[in-house]
């Protein structure tokens, strides 16, 4: 009897302790998740608060004008917003097809012995700190652009009507195009390793069936692999875009840091993050407020980009549903 109650007692104690531990564990996990939300909300609100003088004082004028004059305390953010968007766009336009090619080569075409070394090399590229890309950009790539690419673009594409305006300018080597290309090099490893991982998840059964029906490699890629992995591929692209939007040091080195708004991609510009990095040290008063407001704008821009990504994914899903 005594022994039996002991066993029951210890069992109850045990289950009570289990329940308590479970509750703790749940609570711990919830805290972890909430902490991220709190940090995000805190950062967004504190940049909003820090930039309130400019954001609420100037309102739309801050967003749409290009004058950035710390002496007169007049601030307009359009030039850095434009620079951020254009450099990121160039980066994505270059990086997406390139990454797609790399990932396909590694999963479909490359001989097995080559796959691991190349994949490792690409992952190593992703680990290089951005300041190294900045130095390489400034000391190696900028002179190359100035000596070879810029004059070539100016004398060929620059002569064309309409799009010619994009490629006209003195051969500085620095500028929006150079920054976009350096950003592309930086985000290729991210996008291509995500693509490679998800391409590997496509069941061999599906691919082999398609080959058996007489499909070419390209048809297999376009009709089997891509539809199967579309969501993850778009996710990878937006991961890269997110990095391009926020990249600071490498861009600061090669962008030219001028608050100019020119049609030409060969001319210098500025970006949100490089403006902040450049000027924050010596900024006080309204200037500081304007820079913090720029930080808030970067939040907003990134948020909008993520929203677009979500929206694209949803519309893709719906299309699949109706098809």
């Amino acid at each position: 009897m005594v022994i039996a109650t002991d066993i029951i007692d210890s069992g109850q104690r045990r289950s009570r302790a289990d329940a308590r531990h479970d509750a703790w564990f749940r609570w711990l996990l919830r805290t972890c998740a909430l902490l991220v939300l709190a940090a995000l909300l805190g950062a967004a609100l504190s940049t909003l608060w820090g930039g309130r003088e400019v954001l609420f004082g100037d309102g739309l004028r801050f967003l749409t004008t290009t004058q950035w004059n710390p002496v007169e305390n007049i601030y307009g953010a359009w030039a850095p917003i434009y620079g951020t968007l254009v450099t990121s766009l160039i980066a994505i336009v270059i990086a997406v097809p390139l990454s797609f090619g790399i990932a396909l080569f590694l999963t479909e075409i490359a001989p097995a012995w080559l796959r691991t070394p190349v994949a490792t090399a690409i992952e190593l590229l992703a680990a290089i700190p951005s300041i190294i890309y900045g130095m390489w950009g400034l000391f190696v790539f900028v002179p190359f652009m100035a000596a070879h690419v810029d004059p070539l673009l100016d004398s060929s594409l620059g002569r064309l009507p309409l799009i010619g305006a994009l490629f006209r300018g003195p051969p500085l080597g620095l500028g929006l195009l150079t920054a976009g290309i350096v950003l592309a090099v930086m985000i290729v490893p991210f996008i291509s390793s995500v693509m490679r991982e998800v391409f590997q998840t496509v069941p061999a059964r599906l691919k082999e069936s398609a080959y058996a029906l007489g499909s070419t490699t390209w048809e297999v890629v376009w009709d089997i692999i891509l539809p199967y992995t579309r969501q993850a591929v778009i996710g990878g692209i937006f991961l890269g875009l997110g990095r391009a939007l926020g990249e600071t040091m490498a861009v600061t080195f090669v962008l030219g840091n001028a608050y100019d708004l020119t049609a030409s991609l060969l001319m210098p510009g500025t970006s949100i993050s490089s403006s902040i990095a450049n000027e924050f040290n010596e900024a006080a008063g309204l200037h500081r407020s304007a820079l913090i407001a720029l930080g808030f704008l970067l939040f907003v821009v990134t948020f909008i980009v993520l929203l677009i990504a979500r929206w694209m994914l949803r519309s893709l899903k719906q299309k699949e549903g109706t098809a």
């Binding site: 002496v71 900028v142 080597g173 620095l174 080195f253 990095a277």
Partner: protein, 339 residues
């Protein structure tokens, strides 16, 4: 559960270990990056002599002023002097530390280093974008006999806020009314033209890489990077070469005696041999320090630097303060500071 207890123990020990590192003889300063190289050299020699450590954080002049006003450091350093009202309101005093020069640096095809001559108005015209080609008549007039190419000028300026930009734009504002009206002076200004490099090293790198460009850097950077620097025609109408002699001439001919709290910017100094863009960095301290012990160490440090550190400063291409100015600073210390 054991592991959690263990982790807590380790964290506790770690925290205890960290507090053990605090040392009473450490003093801290923060501010201008212009003086960072010489302050760190002085600090190392001073520590050898006295065992006291002076930690200097080069966070920018604006940051230095903010930190000393918040009382988080023992001294601040700024490339831009505070005015008398501001100093009085916070109970602060300031004095110059070392002198350095800022030079226009250029990279023009076929023009050797030190051959180009400019004056304030032409320099302002170039940085305004009004003089946009190297074969402009205004430049040619100052450089008879020099063959300048028919090439577009690319202007390079600082992209970060800096005391170097402040002194440079202050000089252009003094010599050119157009510049003063359109751009003005400041650590960051709205540059009418050109590209921006981060830091002296950024401007130096851009000038070296972009052909037919002109920028401005601290003299030491131009020397270190072997960039061509221009000669300037000064306020007295004489063309001078940058260097120890002309920087010191500027410091000596500036009218320090009349400047309250040394509030005087040395650009466009009147002396016949004065380099027109000469600059200093002010050390800012409390007149009635909260931590008297630390403050005394700081005074010892700067006293030592005035007496023994100036030759080390010259090795780094700064310039020693003129004798008369040193005397004046010492008198200012006696009269204004409690130590």
């Amino acid at each position: 559960m054991f592991s959690i207890r263990k982790i807590a123990l380790v964290i506790g020990l770690g925290a205890a270990g960290l507090t053990g590192f605090a040392n009473a003889a450490d003093v801290t300063g923060a501010g201008s990056s212009f003086v960072y190289p010489v302050l760190s050299k002085w600090s190392a020699s001073f520590a050898e002599k006295t065992g006291n450590h002076v930690n200097y954080q080069s966070i920018g002049s604006g940051g230095g002023i903010a930190q000393i006003k918040a009382g988080t450091v023992d001294f601040g350093a700024s490339d831009k002097p505070l005015d008398a009202d501001d100093l009085a309101k916070s109970g602060l005093g300031q004095f110059p530390s070392v002198i350095g020069g800022i030079v226009p640096a250029y990279n023009i095809d076929g023009v050797e280093a030190g051959k180009l001559v400019l004056d304030g108005q032409v320099l302002a015209g170039i940085f305004l974008g009004n003089i946009a080609n190297w074969n402009d008549a205004a430049i040619a007039k100052l450089n008879p006999g020099l063959k300048l190419p028919d090439a577009k000028i690319t202007v390079v300026h600082r992209s970060d806020g800096s005391g170097t930009s402040f002194n440079f734009t202050n000089y252009l504002s003094k010599v050119d009314a157009d510049w003063k009206a359109k751009v003005g002076e400041g650590t960051t200004v709205q540059w009418p033209t050109g590209i921006g490099g981060k830091g002296n090293e950024g401007v130096a790198a851009y000038v070296q890489q972009v052909k037919n460009s002109i920028g401005y850097v601290e003299y030491a950077y131009a020397l270190k990077n072997h960039i061509g620097y221009a000669l300037l025609t000064n306020a007295a109408g004489k063309t001078v070469k940058p260097g120890n002699a002309s920087f010191q001439a500027a410091a000596a001919t500036a009218d320090w005696a009349k400047a309250q709290d040394f509030n005087l910017i040395m650009t466009n100094a009147p002396g016949a041999d004065a380099w027109p863009i000469t600059a200093t960095t002010w050390i800012i301290m409390y007149k009635q320090p909260k931590n008297a012990e630390n403050s005394k160490v700081v005074f010892d440090f700067f006293k030592w630097s005035l007496e023994h550190g100036q030759s080390q400063a010259q090795e780094l291409d700064y310039v020693a303060l003129p004798e008369a100015l040193v005397k004046q600073i010492e008198a200012y210390w006696q009269a204004q500071f409690k130590h």
